[in-house]
């Protein structure tokens, strides 16, 4: 090997040696511990997220069911006189609500309007749920 190559080799090893540093002995332990903690936090977050989703689903199910029941009750109230006694509290409630609203807005919405409002709320709830479960998850 000629002088030039010898010098190059010597310089390279000298530079390497000068640049080298070592981490503390417990460095790997610290990294692995942090990873373990991150995973644990993520597991907890997932659990909380699932619980929240279940609660949201429960709330929206109640809203939807209420809407369906209300629609059913309003539907049969128009066709059958025998159910009037059963429906009277519902009708009275809407009458009272309509009276209050007419005082505020100058008109009284019918039971159907309330049903549409319920359906709109249910649709918004379902959208919010889908958004949380499907769309946003897709971005992560």
């Amino acid at each position: 090997m000629n002088d030039f190559n010898e010098i190059e080799k010597f310089l390279d090893s000298g530079i390497k040696e000068s640049l080298s540093v070592n981490t503390r002995d417990d460095f790997s332990d610290k990294v692995m511990l942090e990873i373990k903690m991150i995973q644990e936090f993520e597991r907890q977050d997932k659990k909380t997220g699932n619980l929240f989703n279940a609660m949201m689903a429960g709330v929206f199910t109640v809203i939807i069911m209420s809407g369906v029941i209300l629609a059913y009750l309003l539907g049969i109230s128009g066709g059958s006189e025998s159910s009037e006694s059963f429906l009277s509290p519902v009708n009275e409630f809407f009458d009272a609500l309509g009276y209050k609203l007419s005082g505020i807005f100058g008109f009284a919405p019918s039971g159907e309007v309330f049903m549409y409002i319920f359906l709109a709320a249910a649709a918004a709830g379902v959208y919010a749920l889908i958004d949380r479960l499907v769309i946003k998850r897709g971005y992560n």
Partner: protein, 215 residues
């Protein structure tokens, strides 16, 4: 060249977290050397490196790393960018690897390489008469000079030298990570070595040095 086997990466991706330690153990010293060149402080350098490993882990488990890419290039890109972010946070200014500031009126090309190194010699850090060609070659002194030179050259050089010699990245990979022209990368490595050669031959007898090297 140290490269992690794709099977290891795949197993980590599938949930064998403990295997990640293998990667940490393999790369920690080489990567710390890089963060040290940027941050110049062990605490900050280790913090930046720890965060780099966490980022790498997250990327592996979330399929952020494509197995077609070269692992070491991907990893050192994370390490470099994280260290640069830390630098910006601690020093409240951007890390400049591109240009070298020159203020001296009598600046000669290459002076920036020994700007902080020459005063060390003047202050007789290496001993009053240690740097004499008359004196017998003391190899410990040679090594101290190389170390002193490497530790005082501007970061624009030391980061590249580190990537080349310690991280074992190619010129092209360094150029990609630092977003510097390939020619600049090659030129800085060449100039840094030439200047070191010049210093050693100025301070020591060339024949003696060569004789020692050959042994």
């Amino acid at each position: 060249m140290t490269e992690v086997k794709p099977e290891i990466l795949e197993r980590i991706r599938k949930g064998e977290t403990a295997l990640f330690r293998e990667i940490v153990d393999t790369y920690r010293n080489m990567a710390l050397s890089l963060t040290m060149k940027i941050l110049k402080n062990r605490e900050e350098a280790e913090d930046a490196l720890q965060e780099s490993f966490i980022k790498l882990f997250r990327a592996l488990v979330s399929n952020g790393f494509e197995s077609r890419a070269k692992f070491s290039t991907y990893f050192y890109t994370i390490v470099y960018n994280t260290a640069v972010d830390y630098y910006r946070k601690y020093y409240s200014r951007a890390f400049n690897v591109t240009s070298i500031e020159v203020h001296e009126a009598y600046y000669n090309d290459g002076d920036e390489l020994t700007r902080d190194f020459e005063p060390m010699i003047d202050r007789s850090v290496y001993g009053e008469d240690s740097l004499s060609t008359e004196k017998n070659l003391d190899i410990a002194e040679v090594q101290r000079i190389i170390r002193g030179y490497i530790n005082t050259i501007p970061q624009q050089y030391s980061v590249i030298l580190n990537m080349f010699f310690i991280n074992e990245l190619s010129h092209e990979e360094i150029s990609t990570i630092l977003k510097l022209p390939l020619g600049t990368v090659k030129n800085r490595i060449f100039r840094a070595k030439e200047k070191l050669k010049e210093i050693l031959f100025r301070e020591f007898n060339k024949e003696e040095l060569l004789e020692y090297i050959k042994v």
